[in-house]
Amino acid sequence: MADPHHTSSAGEWESHGGESRLRQVLEAGHFAVTAELNAPDSADPKDVYANLTELGDVCDGINATDGSGANCHMSSVACCALMARAGYEPVLQMGCRDRNRIAIQGDLLGAAALGVRNVLCLTGDDVSAGDQPEARRVFDFDALHLLRTAQIMRDQGVLLSGRKLTTPPEFFLGAAANPFVPPQDLRHLRLAKKIEAGAQFIQTQYCYDVPVFEAFMRRARDMGLHEKVYLLVGVGPLRSERAAEFMRSRVPGVHIPDAVVDRLAKTPRKGKREEGIRICVEIIEAVKQIEGVHGVHIMAYRQEEAVPEIVERAGILREKPKG
């Protein structure tokens, strides 16, 4: 077979064989590292690859966001296809805000054909969070419908209508969890529901509040959920107290305790970036000790260059098998 990552001279894509490498890493019991790629506002593939050099060497998977914050960027399917083509392990983020069930199923098939094996199924930020709030919100599905539908396509080999697929997609299915917003005492129950709907891995919202996360994990463990799903904790470096204020007031679902903001505010200007990275490293070290945590998901918005440093300093760098 031809190299799956390259097009043949006729311009045809060879089908991308093989399983999710992220899944293999997790199944082997390694502490996984994934990171978020910021989809460019560009039509040039080079702008996708530009940030990848920083992330590729230290990550087991790279998420392409799907119009995150309801702002338009290059589509997540396209970003993932470009990543797969270059030999990276993409994680396709797919939300329900912009497409109805017909488009969702079509995009899932297309993404699989282009080499995507990991899908993170999301509800999605509302249109009101972005710079085109006058757009129509779709939300034909919720995240659990999306998860279950992808699972049906994979395991039953049919579309939701029952129509048969010639070749079903092979997916490693993920979902998000946000233990940090109300109702905090019940968030583990929604996690359970997502697992029931087909989630095999979880990437959480930014964790800046370790005690709240610990309480969530305790409840999840009491239900045995930590044995049913691979859980990656979302982390990220804050550049300054102003960035923190912006995130917690403007980005939906982000909770940052005052103590973290104060710590950055008290740091002299020159040291803020370093302090943000130190906080991030401390959080990774703390959550790594919690039973049921299988990795971290680093979201370093416009600080991709910090990711290798964070991984190294947190002591979670491994030799990556070359893909």
Partner: protein, 161 residues
């Protein structure tokens, strides 16, 4: 219309009313169906649901009522139309990501479900996608006719395992 909050915060009372109405309608429906013209029955049902459920639950007439499985709180008031909420955007004060002055309907739903007896705990069921073709039809009629329980072929396939 004011006043419905009082009812909404008494989910046990509302679930009792729901169960009673369901039993009564199931008993009466075969008779109604025989004596009343079909179009008329439908108009009466739609109208009375718009008025009563509109007042009590701000019903959006989705046509497949799952109120009793969602703490007697209408999930279609969620701006994201979630049937398996809440999403991850809930604010620290428990309010909606989209409408900051509105308490998240899904936070309310989970709290109220915990207070309910008969249907309490049903909020943990995985709800199927909404059949958008039933918008503006009568949820009671769809229930009595079994229409609201119909699911896409692919969706039901997985439950047969």
């Amino acid at each position: 219309m004011p006043g419905s909050e009082w009812f909404k915060n008494r989910p046990r009372l509302l679930e009792g009313v729901y169960a009673g109405s369901k039993a009564a309608l199931q008993l009466l429906y075969p008779l109604l169906k025989r004596v009343l013209p079909a179009g008329f029955t439908e108009r009466v049902f739609v109208w009375s649901e718009e008025v009563s459920k509109g007042y009590l639950f701000n019903c959006q007439m989705c046509g497949q009522c799952i109120l009793h499985s969602t703490g007697m709180t209408c999930p279609m008031n969620c701006p994201k139309n979630l049937r398996n909420g809440p999403c991850g955007g809930v604010r620290q004060n428990g309010h909606c990501e989209v409408i900051p002055e509105m308490p998240c309907v899904w936070v309310q739903a989970w709290r109220r479900d915990a207070q309910m007896g008969r249907y309490g705990g049903e909020i943990q069921l995985l709800q199927p996608p909404v059949n958008r073709a039933l918008q503006n039809s009568s949820a009671w009629l769809n229930l009595l006719e079994g229409i609201d329980a119909q699911q896409p072929t692919g969706w039901s396939a997985i439950d047969l395992e």
